[in-house]
């Protein structure tokens, strides 16, 4: 099948690649861009382990074609830390023990990253609903909720300080 040229901004870097139309974004990221943080946990669009940020929205990259990303701005978990300093959501998951095996974590972090921009001061219930597109086998979610609320507090403090 004829390949298409797509150019996108990936974690702040311009990339241009020829892709087969059927290539799923998650495979493009993992196999072509070697960004292996985003994971694959299902083939029915449920688990959210592949969640990345596309043009300011959380999207499951297993259900999006790389060819659709022409002109898009994409952020993956590898783009979260700033010059080696962890983003508040990364720090929150670390401090509150919001991960065990780490397989869902990149998707959880990318979802939390966007969720807290859409809702900077969420209740516990809003966190649970807001994170409902992401499954976890290990944590029972309890500490993930604490992690997201921790990150919300840190981000609010940063905003006040700035």
């Amino acid at each position: 099948m004829i390949k298409k040229i797509v150019s996108m901004t990936l974690n702040g870097r311009k990339v241009e690649e020829a892709v087969e139309p059927r290539t799923l974004l998650v495979h493009f990221l993992r196999e072509k861009m070697s960004l292996t943080g985003a994971h694959i946990g299902c083939e029915t669009s449920h688990c959210g382990a592949c969640t990345v940020d596309i043009d300011g929205q959380s999207v499951k990259s297993c259900t999006h074609l790389a060819v659709q990303c022409d002109g898009s701005e994409i952020k993956t978990v590898e783009g979260l830390a700033n010059a080696g300093v962890l983003h508040a959501v990364q720090e929150g998951f670390y401090k509150e023990h919001g991960l065990q095996c780490g397989f869902c974590t990149p998707g959880m972090l990318m979802r939390a990253y966007r969720f807290l921009q859409d809702n900077p001061d969420p209740t516990e219930e809003e966190v649970r609903v807001g994170m409902s597109g992401n499954l976890c086998r290990c944590t029972g979610y309890q500490n993930i909720v604490k992690a997201v609320l921790h990150a919300a507090r840190v981000l609010q403090q940063d905003k006040v300080a700035a």
Binding site: R22, T44, G48
Partner: protein, 287 residues
């Protein structure tokens, strides 16, 4: 997980998309949010040779008032329905019910038009559109036509949409002030399709129901409008007797498929229960 190969087009206008559809025929499928089509392709249930991506067509987006109706572009995402101040004010049922569809990531991609055009009895918008008396704007090579939601769904995955047509918009009359509404959806977990669901739009005056429409989700090969149940309620107060009549009429019209969500008896009973709860919730909102 691995979809078959296909050619990809991304037209920038409805006209261009229609030309592609006409030219490429039944080997082509329109790609909207992609959250039903790509999952089917990844499991090889569908193997179209060409995808026509309609995500880059601005005419298919946006929610606005037009000629006394609210016009919702077919490519409006579920997230946009939830966030729309216009819908919150004039069609709160849509903004509220969209929160019960899938999960945040899916709602960022899935569109109201795609949810309807898919024709899956498990989807929520078909019954909601029936309860809202919505009509769908279909554009083909010969021009535009409008089909009422109640006439659109012909069977499981089968609709009035012709192969050379695009569903471009959903038209709905805004609620008169004091209209009650509710969508009750029984599901196994957040993000799942309904075991049974009921959408209700209702008006009351002097303690009795003056207008009511009831749509049912996932209890037949298509979404259903429960006409007999509506008749049982018109002119009546909402009480045990009228609700019992509604439940009986709802059950009579159900024809659910047995699957992991339950057998025929359970789903039929739950359809009655959801209709009852939706009517009670809608009545509480009537002014």
């Amino acid at each position: 997980m691995i979809p078959p190969s296909f050619a990809y087009h991304a037209p920038r206008s409805i006209g261009e998309a229609l030309s592609l559809l006409t030219e490429l025929g039944d080997d082509a499928k329109l790609l909207a949010g992609g959250h039903s089509l790509l999952p089917m392709m990844k499991l090889r249930f569908a193997q179209p040779g060409v995808l026509i991506d309609i995500n880059r067509i601005p005419e298919l987006r946006g929610i606005r008032e037009e000629g006394g109706k609210i016009r919702i572009g077919a490519m409006t995402t579920e997230s946009e329905l939830i966030a729309s101040p216009l819908l919150q004010e004039h069609l709160p049922l849509l903004a509220e019910a969209a929160r019960m569809i899938a999960d945040p990531q899916v709602r960022n991609r899935g569109t109201i038009g795609g949810d309807i055009a898919h024709g899956d009895p498990g989807n929520d918008h078909p019954a909601i559109a029936m309860a809202l008396d919505a009509s769908f704007v279909l554009q083909g090579p010969a021009g535009e036509r409008q089909v009422p939601a109640v006439d659109f769904f012909h069977g499981t995955y089968m609709t009035a949409l012709a192969e050379n047509e695009i569903l471009t918009a959903i038209l709905v009359t805004p609620f008169a002030s004091g209209t009650g509404y509710a969508y009750q959806k029984l599901k196994r977990k957040t993000g799942d399709w309904a075991t049974a669901g009921a959408a209700v739009v209702m008006r009351m005056a002097g303690g009795v129901v003056t207008q009511v429409s009831i749509g049912l989700t996932n209890v037949a090969p298509t979404a259903l409008r429960a006409r007999d149940a509506e008749k049982a309620l018109i002119g009546q107060p909402v009480n045990d007797a009228s609700l019992a009549a509604v439940v009986q009429a709802v059950r009579a019209v159900c024809d659910p498929a047995e699957d992991l969500r339950g057998d025929v008896e359970y789903k039929t009973a739950m359809a009655g229960e959801m209709a009852k709860r939706a009517i009670l919730a809608a009545a509480a909102r009537c002014r």
